[in-house]
């Protein structure tokens, strides 16, 4: 069909009328199909799908108005202009034609010029309608494509920014996504030492832009936490990454918590978030924990401050964190839920119900008008470590067989000792040995004790008994600072030796320091340890390895771990 050529249906019971119309329309260059009554008109519409219909009003079998109603119904979203052919004069008859779906009239006797003008006008309208429909279809298709892409991206996102160990029995949480992606991030992971890292992040904006920032954040959080890095190292790394990749004006309000079961304390870093709540079971008092920093992704690495706040965290104590979506939810009159209303919930009698009470009270408050931001809420409770169980180290990464027979010597000298934490790096090397991966947590604790003994007590000569009182703690750190400044030609040397045996292997770790040593003779070889030596963590070390021997004047210690093949399974 030529450009602009239309297929026009002429429905009229007078054959001579059809002939005249047909001649006019054909002269305009259009195609014609004909019908002699309403039923035929519908049939022709179905078979020929004409672009425009010229429809006589009074016809036998089925009149034009009835035919118009049926044709418009069949046409659905397609546009089919219907021009009624009529010599009717009565206004209400003409109105009835339009109501039945007619778009225009042509009165008898037919006027060639007027008919041509009308056909041209509808032809333009048809073209416009078709363009609109095509564009609508393109938009629909694009939209579908985008939704599909988002679903795939969502799957990738969920794999990267998964919820980690949020299912621990001492964590309750709610993450309610505002769109397909959530501007809030909630991550939790166990460190090799057994403590828990939790991170709540609230990115500026929603959806894709927020989700994109969350991916490297989660990657760094999980990667570094599993390798035993400290909170400050992880925060520094995330901040640098976000600063680097986020556009100006985009950042991530963040709270990161390290919960230590053994020390019964939480360490908190907060930037750009509203006050959080720390509930003390013993006193029933709720403390406001405030943000002391700017959000992540704002400051350069050199200006960034990873300093944390420490709070004792006894069994029964609870820490609450939330995104501003909770405080900023509104009721029907537009009033904010607000911090005061939120904190008043902690005046309740039963702490076990706080979490549910917050949710209930928010739902009651906001009602249907509801939540205009992402709402995230998390409750962290202190429990005995046995309740949460041991750390489940991911065995799926790394080489399958791993190195089985090697020796490594690693000496840390003054400047390195002052600033660098060697544990993650050493643990990483040991984790390449499949048999050791399953006891990664114990190894971390073991090496942390050995390193702290060698450095703090050996090299710096600090007295651990100071730490038994609160004042002593401060004094201890003061002495530590001073001693670090005095360091000269000091070192801590790690030697690892891994030797295979028939059914398993043996790991020997020798740690030597440049300090003066101590009187080790009294404890060597005996498993019952005098409490006075607890500061050196010796009972703990004993419990983790097969043998522990001091050499020389006590500045060299050797521990040995053996295993047989069954451990690997």
């Amino acid at each position: 069909m030529d450009e602009g050529q239309l297929n026009i249906l002429i429905a009229d019971d007078n054959q001579s009328d059809r002939m005249i119309l047909s001649a006019i329309v054909k002269k305009m260059g259009h195609q014609v199909c004909e019908a002699a009554d309403g039923l035929e008109a519908i049939e022709q519409y179905t078979n020929q799908s004409p672009d425009i219909i010229l429809l006589d009003v009074l016809m036998p079998n089925m009149n034009g108005q009835q035919a118009a109603i049926e044709i418009k119904q069949l046409a659905g979203e397609d546009m089919v202009p219907i021009i009624f052919l009529t010599s009717l004069q009565d206004a209400s008859d003409l109105a009835a034609c339009l109501e039945s779906g007619g778009d225009d009239f042509l009165s008898k006797p037919y006027n060639k010029v007027i008919l041509q003008a009308k056909i041209n006008a509808f032809s333009r309208m048809l073209k416009m309608h078709n363009t609109l429909q095509e564009q609508r279809d393109v938009i629909r298709e694009n939209n579908e494509h985008m939704r599909h892409e988002q679903q795939v991206a969502r799957a990738v996102y969920d794999n990267v920014a998964h919820s980690g160990c949020l299912d621990l029995p001492n964590i309750k949480y709610l993450l309610s996504p505002f769109s397909i992606f959530n501007g809030d991030v909630l991550l939790a992971a166990r460190r090799p030492s057994g403590s828990v890292h939790i991170l709540l992040g609230d990115f500026t904006g929603h959806g894709l832009p927020a989700a994109i920032g969350a991916m490297p954040l989660a990657e760094i959080f999980y990667g570094m936490t599993a390798k035993g890095f400290l909170m400050s190292d992880i925060l520094r790394e995330i901040n640098a990454k976000l600063k680097n990749i986020l556009p100006v004006g985009y950042f991530c309000c963040t709270c990161m918590v390290n919960l230590s079961f053994r020390r019964q304390q939480i360490e908190v870093w907060m930037g750009g978030l509203p006050d959080f709540a720390l509930y003390r079971e013993a006193s029933g008092i709720v403390e406001h924990i405030k943000s002391k920093h700017l959000p992540l992704g704002v400051l350069s690495s050199s200006a960034f401050n990873p300093e944390t706040q420490e709070f004792s965290f006894k069994p029964g104590d609870k820490f609450y964190m939330w995104s501003d979506g909770i405080i900023e939810s509104r009721d029907e009159s537009g009033e904010l839920f607000g911090e005061e209303r939120l904190f008043s919930i902690f005046n309740g009698k039963n702490p076990d119900l706080f979490f549910d009470n917050i949710l209930d009270s928010m739902d009651t408050f906001a009602g249907e008008s509801g939540r205009d931001d992402d709402t995230t809420l998390l409750e962290l409770s202190m429990v005995n470590e046995s309740v949460v169980g041991t750390v489940d180290i991911d065995l799926s990464s790394g080489a399958i067989t791993g190195p089985t027979d090697w020796h490594l010597s690693y000496t840390l000298r003054d400047d390195t000792l002052k600033t660098f934490n060697p544990l993650p790096m050493m643990l990483n090397i040991l984790n390449d040995v499949p048999s050791l991966r399953s006891i990664s947590g114990q190894l971390y604790t073991l090496m942390a004790e050995l390193f702290s003994n060698a450095f703090e007590h050996g090299v710096l000569g600090l007295d651990s008994s100071l730490k038994s009182s609160a004042d002593g703690f401060a004094e201890y750190y003061k002495q530590r600072e001073t001693a670090m400044k005095m360091m000269k030609d000091d070192f801590v040397k790690f030697e690892f030796d891994l030797a295979p045996s028939q059914d398993g292997g043996t790991l020997t770790i020798v740690v030597e320091d440049s300090g003066d040593g101590f009187d080790h003779k009294r404890i060597n070889g005996q498993k019952e340890i005098n409490l006075a030596y607890c500061g050196r963590g010796i009972p703990l070390i004993y419990s983790l390895c097969d043998s522990l021997t001091y050499h020389g004047n006590g500045n060299k210690v050797e521990v040995r771990l053996s295993w047989d093949a069954q451990i690997e399974e």
Partner: protein, 111 residues
């Protein structure tokens, strides 16, 4: 007195070209059939049928430029709709006479 608008006939011939003869033959044949149906309907005093047929002849006649014939048909159509058939036989006679004239002049317009 001419019963066809000859200026319009010329225009119609321009539109129809070779098909003009066919158009005339079709119109006349169609009209004769409808006129005899109309005759029957008048005899049976079927008002609706009278109006319908008169309407149809009116439309076709106006398109073929037989203005006077269309006028007469309109009178019959109106009477049929109003269900006042008293004058209809008289109109019908006038229609038949007019139709003979139209037929004659249309035949002349051919060739």
């Amino acid at each position: 007195m001419p019963c066809l608008d000859m200026a319009q006939i010329q225009e119609l011939k321009d539109i129809m070209e070779d098909a003009f003869d066919d158009l005339v033959i079709t119109y006349l044949h169609d009209c004769e059939q409808k006129l005899s149906s109309l005759d029957l309907a008048i005899k049976d005093s079927e008002s609706n049928k009278i109006a319908e047929l008169a309407h149809s002849i009116k439309g076709a006649s106006s398109n073929i430029c037989a203005t006077d014939l269309a006028e007469l048909c309109k009178k019959v159509e109106d009477s049929g709709r109003a269900d006042e058939l008293a004058k209809v036989p008289e109109y019908y006679h006038q229609i038949l006479e007019e139709f003979q004239q139209v037929k004659l002049q249309l035949s002349e317009a051919r060739t």
